[in-house]
Amino acid sequence: MNTLIAITGLGIFCLLFEILNLRKAIIPITILGLIGVLALNYCEFGTEQSYYNNMIAVSKFSTAFSSLFIVLTIFLVALSHNFYQNHPTKISDFVAIKVFLLAGAVAMVSFGNLAMFFLGIEILSIALYVLAASDRLNIKSNEAGMKYFLMGSFASGIILFGICLIYGAMGSFDISEIHESALSAELPIWFPIGMILMVVGMLFKVAAVPFHFWAPDVYEGSPALTTALMSTLAKVVAIATLFKLIASMNFISSLENQDLLHTFEVIVVIISIASMSVGNIMALRQVNVKRMLAFSGISHAGFMLMTLLTVSASAGVLLYYTAAYALAGIAAFSVILYVCRDQDNEDITNFHGLGKTNPLLAAVLTASLLSMAGIPIFSGFFAKLFLFNQTIQAGYIGLVIVAVINSIISVGYYFKLIIAMYSKEPNQERTGRPFLIYATAVVSIVLNIALGLFPSLVLDLLK
């Protein structure tokens, strides 16, 4: 709870700093503040509490994920220094928006009441609409914003309808109450329908097939930093929330009562297979790196959805996977930000010869791509490993084999980028060594590898 308040306060401070002409200080202070919040959040870890008659329910799950979100936000804020150099007047707004977005995210994973959940998701989404369209004069950005807005609000409409049906079935928005009554024998069909509607809404947010179409376009159109945010923070938040929704409302067992469980599992399996395959295959022919990563994000969503098959056991796995994925993503995007600083597009050609001009960044990008591809010693590999392990344990060997085939395909496009960096001649001068970008890149990749070497650190948090 304190975390949430602190974050909101921090957001307001950012706005104040602008008024007080402390523009220079905004980013460092925000970072420090966020680190403070992280500490605060850490203190809350392990306490099972609920605030405001259970509007907010703090649990291990919520705190663990919140800290991941905070870390990601720190990186994103750090990156925004260079990103917004050209229009300093807006910097406070953008930082503030990011912080508020974080508040929404935290609210989403720690909701104890569907109202809170709805508010959280809306805070996040609206912030994202703004960020997506934030490059006012760039038609691409406008289009991205518009698309995201239209589909997003459509999706939130669906979610709202779902909430409504659940309310109708349960007569309450409170998670714990729903949790109890979910098991009662005679439930109106609205409940599962409502759940499904909410799930679909969330699937849209995580960009799972067939609700994924917005992702590539929006990712491509939005400013690079926003794309980074979407593909790391937003995606992680969404999947975490989806997981919590299903876990906390005792959905699975209630489905079991009305023997719909199998149906649900079939749906999940189909969607996750579809997401993986579509994501990976579509990524093969992309030339725009952001777009490519969008599709790779879709496929990763497919992987993460596998956890929904073993909700009871796989919270830790999900946390690990999201952490691995997001950290790799941050590292990759920080390099992209550097390379495409003053490019009008993010095509692969911009990366030619990066291995010669900036070996360090090239190495970081390579590492992050390898991690996403699931090559050992990077945490991405262990994430996949644990995920597969879980899933096979639950008896979905076929699903795992599809996943394996998909990770083979994925290597195809990840390596396109690596080859471009190492075996092509540099086609441009790359000057300047912006400290924050380098720092972010290195730190995030180091974290990623550290996770790889000591997976238990994260994996056992939620035990």
Partner: protein, 479 residues
């Protein structure tokens, strides 16, 4: 002192090399590889003295993965092969100038590190990790320092990477499945687990895919020739000299003992595949225009025989194939180095553009000839010992296997001598060919010495590997 020391030395070596800068890199790399060699020899002594040099620490508790290295005779033999070849390979590269040498040599050492790990790992997942790690450096070595048209090279290398990765991912799936059964990745637990025939079949197949691509066994060999041709010779040596052996070794260490029923059931099929590889490889090698490609196909033929030997599931078969692995490791490195030596002088790998070298450089000719003869398994070379043992074991299964596999001594002689004739003999080529330098000579001499010594006295190696092979056989025949 235990086996992990070698790994540490090599890893540190890799970093030290990278930070020692382009000037010193090669020297430093050589130094560390020699250190690793020394270390492995010391370990060998300790092992023979009956000291326990294995390591086992828990690493990840859920799922239970442990950092377990098992220094037994078989593992040590392969480690020795790696540790002995790495310095030779590094030393043999002294004649060339590489841009960004520090990265190059660091990668070599890192690869050696990963391969040693693969040979030692006693935990399924650890093994898999090393197995995959070994792939990264060779990918970059071939991609960045390779030769030939860049676009084709990219295609070849990426194909190689994805292809091998594809195979090994199925192996990973098999491992996870086994983990569900055994509750641990430790090799002894995996040995213990009881699987139904059907399960064994699928697991065997998953492993086979990984190994058949890596070794390679036909028809999974299509990456080989191109990559061998495109990669820098050092990379080719690493690939053919050591990396192939990873696959063959894994067959012995993992595939056969874990899925013995399937192994027994389908033995003949896989032996047949191996022998088909022998014949096919030899015949394709006949008409190759590119020297490195020819050698690639010849090694395809040889590993086919080795694989056939290991699938016989007899002590002779396993022992023969291990000896053949080591022998082939040395001889193939030597041959590729010879190709490199020619390339340094003639700037070509086209056999058609060579010839008449013998008149100009007798020393090189004799060394090359000895290697050629070793590769066609002339008695008194180590290769003969291995090949004889393997063929004998095959003849015990079915005399026809021995006869068909034996065609290698005819076809092998045919294409190798044909190659030798067109490369070395004939009228003096207009281009001048300086005889081998001291460095080159040393590398050759070492390899030849090893081959001849063990050709007459293979006992040390036999004694080293036999016990562990026997234990493996016990596991295979437990039910």
């Amino acid at each position: 002192m235990n086996v992990s020391t070698i790994l540490i030395i090599l890893l540190i070596g890799a970093f030290a090399t990278y930070f020692s800068g382009d000037k010193l890199a090669s020297k430093v790399a050589l130094l560390f590889s020699l250190a690793a060699l020394g270390c492995s020899i010391v370990l060998l002594n300790n092992y023979n003295a009956g000291e326990n040099i294995s390591v086992i620490n828990s690493w990840i508790n859920q799922p239970k993965i442990s950092f377990a290295l098992n220094g037994d005779g078989l593992g040590l033999a392969m480690v020795l092969l790696t540790a002995a070849l790495t310095p030779i390979i590094i030393f043999s590269s002294f004649g060339n100038e590489y841009k960004n040498a520090k990265g190059f040599y660091a990668l070599i050492l890192f690869m050696a590190f990963a391969m040693v790990g693969t040979f030692l790992a006693a935990d399924g997942l650890l093994y898999y990790i090393f197995w995959e790690l070994a792939l990264i450096p060779i990918y970059f070595i071939a991609l960045i320092w390779g030769n030939g048209d860049a676009e084709e090279r990219r295609k070849a290398v990426v194909k190689f990477f994805i292809y091998t990765l594809a195979g090994s991912l199925f192996m990973l799936t098999a491992f996870i499945y086994l983990y569900q059964k055994a509750g641990s990745f430790l090799i002894e637990d995996l040995y213990k687990v009881n699987l139904s025939a059907c399960e064994q079949f699928w697991i065997f197949l998953a492993f086979f895919l990984a190994y058949a691509i890596k070794i390679p066994i036909i028809p999974f060999h299509t990456w080989q020739a191109n990559v061998y041709q495109k990669a820098p010779t050092v990379g080719t040596m690493l690939l053919s000299g050591i990396m192939l052996k990873m696959g063959l070794y894994s067959v012995l260490r993992w595939q056969l003992p874990i899925a013995p029923l399937a192994a027994k059931e389908y033995m003949t099929i896989f032996i047949a595949l191996g022998i088909a590889g022998v014949i096919y490889g030899s015949i394709v090698a006949l008409r190759q225009k590119d020297l490195k490609k020819l050698l690639a196909y010849s090694s395809l033929a040889h590993v086919g025989l080795i694989a056939a030997g290991s699938y016989t599931l007899t002590l002779d078969g396993l022992r023969g194939s291990v000896m053949q692995m080591i022998a082939h490791g040395f001889v193939v490195v030597g041959l590729f180095f010879a190709a490199e030596v020619i390339f340094r002088r003639y700037e070509t790998r086209e056999i058609g553009e060579m010839g008449g070298i013998r008149t100009q450089s007798p020393k090189f000719t004799s060394m090359f000839l000895i290697l050629v003869l070793a590769s066609v398994a002339l008695p008194s070379t180590f290769n003969f010992v291995g090949e004889f043992t393997v063929l004998y074991s095959l003849s015990q299964i079915n005399i026809w296997f021995a006869i068909l596999g034996g065609t290698t001594i005819i076809l092998g002689a045919y294409y190798m001598l044909r190659m030798f004739q067109h490369v070395m003999l004939g009228e003096t080529n207009s281009k001048t060919f300086a005889d081998v330098t001291l460095n080159e000579g040393v590398s050759f001499a070492v390899i030849i010495a090893v081959l001849l010594f063990f050709g007459f006295y293979p006992k040390p190696i036999t004694d080293l590997i036999t016990p562990s092979l026997e234990t493996i056989l016990q596991v295979i025949n437990k039910n």
